[in-house]
């Protein structure tokens, strides 16, 4: 696939107009970390924003940062850490990924339990539409209702409406204490008991994930179903928060590096998808996910009980895809969302999420010639 690198918005616009004139569809790429995810884009050439990089404006006192889309999360982490701040997004993968890809895919990790997803943290965007028009939504301030919300629309639109070129995000100051703990859960099916404890607590942990036995072993934090906790605030608050979890078991302090390992746990070629339902249904969703782990050896599971989401990482094997094909054919109460799947499984998991009349109308308006990431959301053209 031919790849075009663009280092300016004008060049990007020209490239999009040229592709439209030639009737070519472009695969929109940041640093290309997810190109093997199997999503069925009908494209023949690609365009990368990785050279459209760099922080444009960072005023620590405003707790906002504006960067070009190709800026890596690592660069943002380093710049903000100098001022004891951070972008509270920990999407799965490494910090070599770009801000543009994170926002375009609305990717979020465990911190979403407390800080929200890119839809909550993105304040403004600039983007090049399929028509070649360059538009902006939102702005650089933390509160803004001027005009229709193009920022929310573009966030999570997978590059199908516009190529993000510049993004402003909300930052958070790092707390006095930010500590991580593991609690071994005595009984299987403890997802529900963790949710019940969380519901009663007078605070929200920065993150709380439940991992299955295989994942606990992979992370080196013991065996059996385990709750991973990330607690933040002032020292007195964190002490009290730790105590509050005692009824689940004894919290053991662990190295914060566990969160990085969790984010990067996918073996090459793994099949990755999420299942979600209401938080109160987490026991059922967790049971359904555990059936996957029984059917496919080596499956890593982690659940965000407050969000009702379970993420399944299934190592590649001859049997796994076939087992999942059968499982996905069975009825389920949960919503399944694909992250990385064999091509033939995509339609079974994420069946055309942007094919309703309004989404189709928006796609036709923003990208009438279907130049951008055609088909990646199963949209009908």
């Amino acid at each position: 696939m031919t790849e075009t690198l663009t280092a300016s918005v004008d060049a990007l616009r020209e490239c999009v107009l040229d592709a439209g004139a030639r009737g070519v569809a472009l695969r929109v790429v940041g640093r290309g970390a997810w190109l093997d995810a199997g999503r069925g884009a009908r494209t023949t050439e690609s365009i990368s924003t990785r050279e459209l990089a760099g922080i444009i404006e960072y005023v620590p006192g405003d707790l906002t940062l504006t960067a070009r889309a190709g800026t890596t999360l690592a660069e943002i982490r380093e710049a903000t850490a100098e001022h004891n701040q951070r972008l509270a997004l920990d999407p799965h993968g490494t910090d070599d990924g770009t801000l543009g890809a994170t926002v375009a895919t609305a990717s979020a990790g465990p911190l979403a339990a407390s800080f929200g997803t890119p839809r909550d943290l993105t304040l403004g965007v600039e983007f090049v539409m399929g028509t070649g028009a360059v538009a902006r939504g939102g702005g650089r301030v933390v509160k803004n209702v001027a005009g229709f919300d193009l920022t929310r629309l573009l966030t999570g639109s997978w590059g199908t409406l516009g190529i993000l070129t510049e993004i402003t995000v909300r930052l958070h100051a790092r707390p006095e204490a930010d500590e991580s703990f593991a609690v071994s859960l005595e009984r299987p099916g403890s997802a529900e008991s963790v949710r019940r404890v969380l519901r009663r607590l007078p605070f929200t942990p920065y993150a709380c994930e439940i991992v299955n036995d295989t994942f606990a072993a992979f992370l080196g934090i013991g065996h059996g179903e385990t709750a991973l906790l990330r607690l933040g605030g002032n020292a007195a608050a964190v002490r009290a928060q730790r105590t509050a979890f005692a009824e689940l078991g004894v919290p053991r302090e662990i190295d914060a590096a566990v969160w990085t390992r969790l984010r990067q746990a996918e073996p090459a070629g793994a099949i990755v998808f999420r299942m979600s339902h209401s938080a109160s249904e987490i026991a059922r969703t967790w049971t359904e996910a555990n059936a996957v782990a029984v059917g496919c050896a080596g499956t890593l599971l982690h659940a965000s009980p407050t969000r009702g989401v379970v993420r399944c990482i299934v190592p590649s094997s001859d049997g796994a895809a076939g087992w999942l094909r059968r499982a996905f054919g069975a009825p389920t109460m949960t919503t399944r969302i694909g992250e990385r799947l064999p091509v033939d499984l995509w339609p079974m998991v994420s069946s055309a999420p942007a094919s309703d009349p309004i989404s189709s109308g928006i796609k036709r308006t923003f990208d009438p010639k279907s130049v951008l990431n055609a088909g990646i959301l199963g949209e009908v053209q």
């Binding site: 004891n84 929200g116 538009a135 509160k143 969000r307 969302i337």
Partner: protein
């Protein structure tokens, strides 16, 4: 496709009768004297009388009314309680669809912290209804005792506590929407993640231009275990603004961080809403910290120390709920207290980066002196969301002109500081002239085009949010033509 509203001549007795057949005769207002009540919203500087007002009482009636209007090609304006501050709910000679009678809370899911409400549910009623379950609905505009959730969704309303908890868009998970065509669609996923475009986020804040929310699934917030409310007073606005920056930089996120300047303090203290604010202070900060009891006192002590080190004369911590309520009453009723100062009042809603607060507040003071108008500032300092209020006498043409100039100059100063023209009130009619200051023609045209996906004939709340000239340009632009044909 029409660019202008359908002729008002279509609003006649026959239409009134047809709508009365749906909602009952008492629920259709057609005589000018009856419609006068609906000529303004919370911003008294605008007056636009609707041609007819209709007040459906059920979801089915709303659908039937909108389908009838669609059949006739008539524009309409959805309206909640009419407390908005941007002229957004004004119907200029067109049909006004009042949704305040749809006031049922349809369901409450305590396990998941969700509620499904009709659009006419009053904001504070929802918090009251879920209080016994340990929840509240976090967005709390100052008009919360009257404004409706439907109106909050339309405007993406905020409020003092949005600093910590987020604005309306952060609290809406799903919507059932009646498109202007009369079609009903479901947006979002009430139980589970949503893939695809964020149509809920796109609809929230669309100011009634994308259709009518028939029901809204909202996220409820747990009541905090403890709350501490502080009042710190300063001898200069600059010092108060510095204290704001210092607090935010610590990582402590106050539930609310409000600034009240001397002019506002004096207006409040001479009104029935007197809250005990020191009248000789240049500015006061009303700071609320909430959350788990453990660790909260530590944060209170940190905030007290930061106020003191930035020049606070006194820092008072409310001893009990009664004192806390009194401190908040002064803030929440400040707008009402200013009503005593003059017959009319305008309020601006600009946002600036927090670090620009001292500089912009100095410019606002200078503009007030130069234009000889009295500016009262009471605002969400933690977000940089300014609310300069100017009381004036609208019958004095010279003063009105100066007020208008001052407002424009304030807005320009905020935009030049890298800010936005509205933080929570919406564009409506009032901010329409300023949209060109912050958005390029291409961005405005994109917004027009997005609106047309929901409302191809632009019949729902016509003439609001995006200046008409931007939409005309969209239609004339050669690059826009091919896909219009597809649509």
């Amino acid at each position: 496709m029409t660019l202008t509203a359908a002729p008002a001549s279509k609003i006649d007795q026959a239409l009134a009768s047809r709508l009365a057949a749906i909602v009952g005769e008492r629920r259709v207002l057609f005589r000018p004297s009856e419609l006068l009540t609906y000529a303004s919203d919370g911003l008294p500087s605008y007056s636009k009388q609707p041609g007819l007002a209709v007040f459906p009482g059920t979801r089915e009636e709303v659908i039937a009314v909108v389908r009838e209007l669609a059949r006739l090609g008539l524009p309409f304006v959805p309206r909640g309680a009419g407390t908005g501050l941007s002229g957004g709910a004004l119907a200029d000679g067109v049909v006004l669809v009042g949704l305040n009678r749809l006031s049922r809370i349809l369901s409450i899911d305590a396990e998941n912290g969700r509620a499904v409400v009709e659009p006419g549910v009053v904001n504070v009623s929802l918090s009251r209804a879920v209080a016994a379950l340990g929840y509240h609905y976090a967005p709390d505009p100052s008009s919360q005792t009257a404004c409706t959730i439907g109106g909050n969704v339309a405007e993406n309303a905020g409020g003092p506590h949005c600093l910590k908890y987020g604005v309306t868009t952060n609290h809406v998970v799903a919507l059932t929407v009646l498109l202007p065509s009369g079609e009903v669609v479901t947006l979002g996923n009430a139980s589970g993640e949503q893939e695809g475009y964020d149509l809920v986020g796109t609809f929230v804040g669309s100011e009634g231009c994308f259709g009518i929310a028939l029901d809204v699934t909202v996220r409820l917030s747990r009541n905090p275990e403890s709350v501490r409310t502080l009042l710190a007073d300063f001898l200069s606005i600059d010092a108060a603004a510095r204290a704001v920056s210092a607090i935010v930089a610590t990582g402590i996120v106050p539930a609310a961080l409000e600034m009240i300047d001397q002019a506002t303090i004096r207006a409040v203290e001479s009104s029935i809403y007197a809250a005990g604010y020191p009248v000789d202070a240049a500015a006061a900060l009303l700071i609320e910290l909430d959350g788990a009891t453990a660790g909260l006192e530590h944060d209170v002590a940190t905030v007290e120390a930061l106020c003191a080190s930035n020049g606070a004369r006194t820092v008072r911590v409310a001893r009990d709920d009664a004192e806390r309520a009194r401190l908040w009453q002064g803030r929440k009723k400040a707008f009402g207290a200013m009503g005593r100062l003059a017959s009319h009042l305008v309020v601006q809603d600009a946002v600036v980066p927090r670090t620009k607060l001292p500089e912009v507040l100095a410019q606002i003071a200078e503009i007030g002196v130069r234009q000889r108008v009295r500016i009262c500032n009471v605002f969400h300092a933690g977000d940089g969301n300014l609310h300069p209020n100017i009381p004036y006498d609208a019958s004095d043409a010279d003063e009105s002109a100066r007020v208008h100039l001052a407002m424009r100059e304030i807005m320009t100063a905020c935009v030049n500081a890298g800010g936005s023209i509205t933080g929570e009130h919406g564009v409506g009619l009032d901010k329409l002239p300023y949209m060109d200051l912050i958005f390029t023609p291409e961005s405005l045209a994109t917004m027009c085009a997005l609106r047309e996906v929901f409302d191809p004939d632009r019949r729902s709340n016509p003439g609001k949010v995006v200046p008409v000239h931007a939409c005309r340009e969209w239609h004339m632009a050669p690059s826009a033509r091919p896909h219009r044909e597809i649509l």
